[in-house]
């Protein structure tokens, strides 16, 4: 809902998109459907992406925090939906929470690196942009392939 709050115009529309995302996430938790978590988060991400269509071109430095928050929401949602057996022994839940905090912190750092790289004073151009596109596609392809093979 951050996007709806900071948007200078069309805040209501963004709020509706955000509310739809939250409702979808709530539905995913209520009916225990892990498959709905990703669409809910995608909807919330789309709300955030729509923010840039209605505001100026200034870099939003809060994006890494927003991304880490997304990750925490996703982790908690999947943790709630995961089939777990057994009462955890003392110390297991705090360790899991500490791992989640560490992952979120690493996510913030990764986001900051991305923003810092984007703000680097490099001369742009079609070549560099093509390299970026190829790198992004290759990264997604490699991770997707690895994920599929590891199933």
């Amino acid at each position: 809902m951050y996007a709806a709050v900071v948007a200078e115009r069309l805040g209501g529309l963004l709020a509706i998109a955000g509310a739809a995302g939250v409702a979808l996430l709530a539905a995913a938790l209520a009916i225990r459907a892990p498959a709905l978590v990703a669409p809910a988060l995608a909807l919330l991400g789309a709300e955030y992406a729509a923010l840039f269509a209605v505001r100026d071109d200034t870099l939003d430095v809060r994006a890494p925090l927003y991304g880490a928050g997304f990750l925490v929401v996703a982790e908690l949602a999947f943790a709630a939906l995961e089939q777990r057996a057994g009462k955890p022994e003392p110390g297991l839940v705090p360790r899991r929470a500490a791992t989640l905090v560490a992952v979120a912190a690493a996510g913030v750092l990764a986001g900051l690196i991305v923003l810092a790289a984007a703000a680097a004073p490099l001369d742009g151009g079609v070549g560099l942009e093509a390299v970026g596109v190829v790198a992004a596609v290759a990264l997604v392809a490699v991770l997707g392939r690895a994920a599929v093979r590891s199933r």
Binding site: Y66, A68, F78, R96, V114, S150, R151
Partner: protein, 422 residues
């Protein structure tokens, strides 16, 4: 062990990929920053996922115990690589329940760990304990490896025994010395009768008081103490059951009690399990025979069978002449009823302890159900009368009552009844 991916694996790949593509399309680095944490978790998770090399074993602190007792089960788990969350489920057969400890349990394993459970034996039986299902999750929760370890540690739970003040006395005794007073006269301790002195009588048997009164020598006669042969006839054709109690439980408990008491006084005890599976143990004495009988009882189960079995299938040595046959039966199956009447017709000294099905059956809610129930009870009473007319003592034993009650009832019947020739 099989590996399965968490739903977050696909979700993070999709979200990360979408964020990157959106960043490229909209030329906004913030969207790439948005997807970076997901791609980071995905990459790290794929890099660190390995087989933890799990090994598990189950140990019991003893291999035999009595119904109602508890034992300690130790589950040893060893992992070559640390497992952040290991879920352990010890699959316990029906009849064993966890009284202390978590099952399933979720633990962290680095090296080796031991999980301890207290298990209570709720029901007699021969069990195999040790089927263990494990699920190991990695630190980032992207993958879970699950598998089963089969240890199959044998465990025997013996039925509890009822307290009995006295046992059923057979009509005839056997040849060897024992604790049962024989009807015949011979060398023994219990006074039986007086008779005139005969050549060969020992001087110490002379009753001097009777001899002085009658003017000639008279000697005492005694009843010798002999052993008896007892055959426990367990009807496993049919059972009635309600909640955790069943007529088979009563049969096994009674058989174990009687076998223990008779073997303790040097009698020979045999077993015939007459049902879907026909099994027998020839009469024998001592502790070994007792354990043989109890072990055979542990394997007793109701097996559906339409075979019409006759008692003639049982070897003759299993049913020695002059043996006391104690039948433990719910008197529900025509085949076992016929076999018992057949035994009686062959002259066996037979007593029936009826494991009453009445305690397990509701009279019914409607008038027609209650009528059917009453008719059924009348049929059962007619069956009892048929046995009694054949000189067979029949005593009902209901769930919750002590075994001593039907034993006393049979004893009273035998005291007042004479053996009929059928």
């Amino acid at each position: 062990m099989s590996r399965e991916a968490s739903p977050r694996l696909a979700a993070y790949a999709v979200l990360g990929g979408l964020a990157l593509i959106a960043a490229l399309v909209t030329r906004r680095p913030e969207l790439a920053a948005l997807g970076a944490p997901f791609l980071l978790v995905l990459g790290a998770g794929l890099l660190v996922t390995t087989d933890p090399g799990l090994e598990a074993a189950v140990r019991l602190d003893r291999d035999r115990l009595l119904e109602g007792d508890e034992l300690t089960v130790e589950i040893d788990v060893a992992a070559a690589r640390a497992v952040e969350r290991l879920e352990l489920l010890l699959e316990l057969p029906a009849g064993l329940t966890v009284s202390d400890g978590d099952n399933p349990a979720a633990i962290r394993v680095s090296g080796s760990r031991t999980v301890t459970l207290r298990v209570r034996a709720e029901r007699w039986g021969a069990y195999e304990v040790g089927d263990l299902t494990v699920r190991a999750r990695d630190a980032l929760g992207l993958f879970a490896r699950s598998g089963r370890f089969r240890a199959a540690v044998p465990l025997k739970v013996y039925p509890t025994r009822d307290a009995l003040r006295r046992l059923l006395r057979p009509a005839e005794t056997q040849l060897y010395s024992g604790d049962e007073l024989a009807r015949a006269k011979g060398e023994g301790l219990e006074f039986a009768d007086l008779r005139p002195f005969a050549f060969g009588d020992r001087v110490r048997r002379i009753n001097w008081r009777a001899s002085a009164r009658r003017g000639e020598l008279w000697v005492n006669e005694q009843h010798p103490e002999r052993n008896v042969d007892v055959v426990l006839f367990v009807d496993s054709f049919a059972e009635v059951q309600r909640a955790s109690a069943s007529s088979l439980d009563l049969a096994v408990r009674a058989a174990a009690t009687l076998a223990a008491r008779y073997t303790r006084r040097r009698d020979r005890v045999g077993l015939v399990s007459f049902g879907g599976y026909l099994r027998w143990l020839e009469p024998g004495g001592g502790l070994v025979q007792l354990y043989r009988i109890v072990d055979a009882l542990l394997d007793t189960e109701i097996a559906l069978s339409h075979a019409w079995k006759e008692i003639d299938h049982v070897p003759a040595r299993t049913l020695p002449p002059q043996a006391l046959v104690v039948a433990l039966t719910p008197l529900l199956d025509e085949r076992s009823i016929r076999a018992l009447l057949h035994l009686r017709a062959r002259g066996f000294d037979l007593d029936v302890i009826e494991l009453s099905p009445l305690a397990f059956v509701d009279p019914g809610a409607t008038e027609s159900e209650r009528l059917a129930y009453r008719l059924w009870r009348l049929q059962r009473e007619a069956l009892h009368a048929q046995f009694r007319a054949a000189g067979v003592a029949v005593a009902e034993w209901r769930h919750g009552e002590p075994l001593a009650r039907p034993i006393e009832e049979v004893t009273a019947f035998r005291r007042n009844a004479t053996l009929a020739r059928v």
